[in-house]
Amino acid sequence: MPGFILRRTAIALAILLLVALLLFAMMHMIPGDPTVVALGPRSTPEMREAFRAMMGLDRPVLDQLGLLLVRLAQGDLGLDVWSRRPVLTMVLEVLPYTVALALASFVWALALGLVLGCVAVVHHGKWGDWLIGAVSVSFVAVPSFVVALYSLLIFAVWLNWLPAIGAGEPGDIGAQLRALILPSFAVGLGWVGYISRLVRAAMIEAMSEDYVRTLRAYGVGEGRIIYRYALKQALLAILSVIAIGFGSLLTGSIFAEIVFTRPGLGKMTYDAVISRNFPLVMGTVLVTSALYVTCMILADVVSAWLDPRVRSAI
């Protein structure tokens, strides 16, 4: 097992290196002079020259790349162009908001999706299955920003039950949780439908296995077959998809962050790209990628731990 985790970590580091290289290449190929975007069109050549020197843009490209990689290896993500604050500090400031939103969205979506998927399997081919199918597909089909806008309108503006914007005052857990409800609803709703369809498909496949026939041939009840046998197999089958889903939630909540004016990685990345704040782009994207591959490694480890065949092979 330790060797297995070590190998996965090595692959993860290679992926992060690749991401850094691609980002570096992208920044140099993107049209527009970064100094002009940064300093404005009316900046003097001297100002631009000074900015170039400060950012290291006057050096040869390979030197820049080497410098970047050395800094990254030391865990240094550089300084923000505007505030001159360390990028790592800025990213770590907003990270909890993003993780909280992703977790909250995912936990409720997974719980409801599992229940709906199981109920659909129990009613396989009957109207209950059709109803859950229709509801699930419509959850998937509605864009999350539409859900975000409507839920904002209904629960914050008309009913005034929940806060419309912000993430709650730091230190006030109650306010932060209440500020999480609407965004996590908007982000998670599509995942409810997606997970319920996924669970249903995996369960139906599990229920067609030979061993289910064996259990039935001995009169074992359908409930026990579904919840003790098929569900475990189905969860194993969808685990990696779920992990990818969680990874994409860490970055994909940008609509919710904009609509609800929440701080977060998605919004920070967006703003950094718009303002050509390259160190910040590099920092946010790398941290996001790191979170993503960590999810993948965790999924691999958990599924290896759940599946005796994989467990014994590694």
Partner: protein, 344 residues
């Protein structure tokens, strides 16, 4: 290998009630696709009955129908279908579930997929024994270990924590047989029990099944397309073709004096029986037609068919010098001398 003579009925004292009694049982998928047509089959206590036939002959459908394990689209009908005294045609879901295990237990073709790959064998065997109320589980555990030891599994206690992939196919089939025996069933149904195993394992499994008949007194219904398996273990054999039983008799009658052209063709195609020097493996020309397509389903592939074969349905008639030997064929029933027989 001298099977106990159970036929003819008139020559023996009154027979015990049959374990399985089917009269004119038919199974169809949907409304229009028949798979089994008007099958009569009786299995008495301690009897081993084999069903042979090529793929698509309906033998597996027949075996699965006994436990109501057919897909939802399947429709069963018949004048009588009794399993251990219960009428299966009238049984509702609860009654059918009650039969699964105690009345008839089943072992399947592929032991590698017959168990869940991600649950321990102990867990699965315990779940198969769900009828036993045993809060601590110790009693169940002891019974399972005893059953595993009985079918010849080394270190049965250790196997409880093993996963299926850690055992060979032959060992898993033994576990499956042990599971079936734990039910103390009246009938053991074995659907191609050795097809997925190598020859050594096959011999061991057949030996095990035969010794279980002696010790546990179960009747066995064994489905196979492998003639050697049938010859090895059965008392009585039914040959199925296109959903019907076309010939039935003691293993001796079927193997020494096969009467139906289809049975004869099956023997001619058995690789183990093909004479040396033959360059090509013989095959039966054509395909199995849809059951019920014509009066004699084999007529289209038959080498000796006559005009009456397509005009009249062939009758089910006594045939040959062996007791209880029946055949569904115009040619065999009417011709005086039996066709040249073969020895297995």
């Amino acid at each position: 290998m001298k099977p106990p003579s159970l036929e003819p009925p008139s020559a023996e004292p009154p027979l015990p009630a049959p374990v399985l009694d089917m009269r004119h049982v038919s199974v169809s998928y949907g409304a229009h696709v028949p798979a089994v047509l008007g099958v009569d089959l009786t299995i008495r206590p301690r009897e081993i009955v084999g069903i042979i036939g090529e793929s698509g002959s309906g033998k597996s459908t027949l075996a699965h129908s006994v436990l109501g394990l057919l897909p939802k689209t399947a429709r069963m009908s018949g004048t009588r279908f009794n399993l251990a005294g219960t009428d299966i045609l009238k049984a509702d879901r609860t009654a059918l579930a009650a039969l699964r295990g105690p009345a008839a237990a089943m072992i399947f073709q592929n032991p590698m997929t017959a168990f869940s790959p991600i649950h321990t064998l102990g867990r699965q065997l315990t779940d198969l024994l769900w009828r036993d109320r045993d809060p601590s589980g110790a009693q169940k555990r002891a019974r399972i270990v005893a059953a595993l030891a009985e079918v010849g599994i080394p270190d049965p206690v250790g196997r409880l924590d093993a996963f299926p992939f850690q055992l060979s196919g032959g060992m898993l089939q033994r576990v499956a047989i042990a599971a079936a025996l734990l039910m103390q069933p009246a009938l053991l149904i074995a659907d191609e029990p050795t097809t997925a195993l190598d020859v050594t394992m096959e011999a061991q499994i057949l030996h095990l099944m035969r010794s279980l008949r002696e010790r546990a007194g179960v009747s066995i219904l064994i489905i196979s397309h492998h003639l050697g398996v049938i010859a090895e273990i059965c008392d009585r054999v039914a040959v199925m073709y296109a959903g019907r039983i076309v010939e039935e008799g003691t293993v001796e009658a079927i193997f020494r004096a096969p009467r139906h052209p289809y049975t004869q063709a099956l023997f001619a195609c058995e690789p183990a029986l093909v004479p040396t020097g033959m360059r090509r493996l013989p095959v039966i020309a054509g395909e199995v037609p849809r059951p019920g397509a014509s009066l004699c389903d084999f007529a289209s592939r038959c080498a000796v068919k006559a005009a009456r074969c397509v005009e009249q349905a062939p009758p089910w008639t006594r045939s040959g010098e062996f007791p209880g030997h029946h055949v569904r064929c115009h040619g065999s029933a009417l011709s005086g001398s039996p066709p040249s027989g073969r020895t297995p």
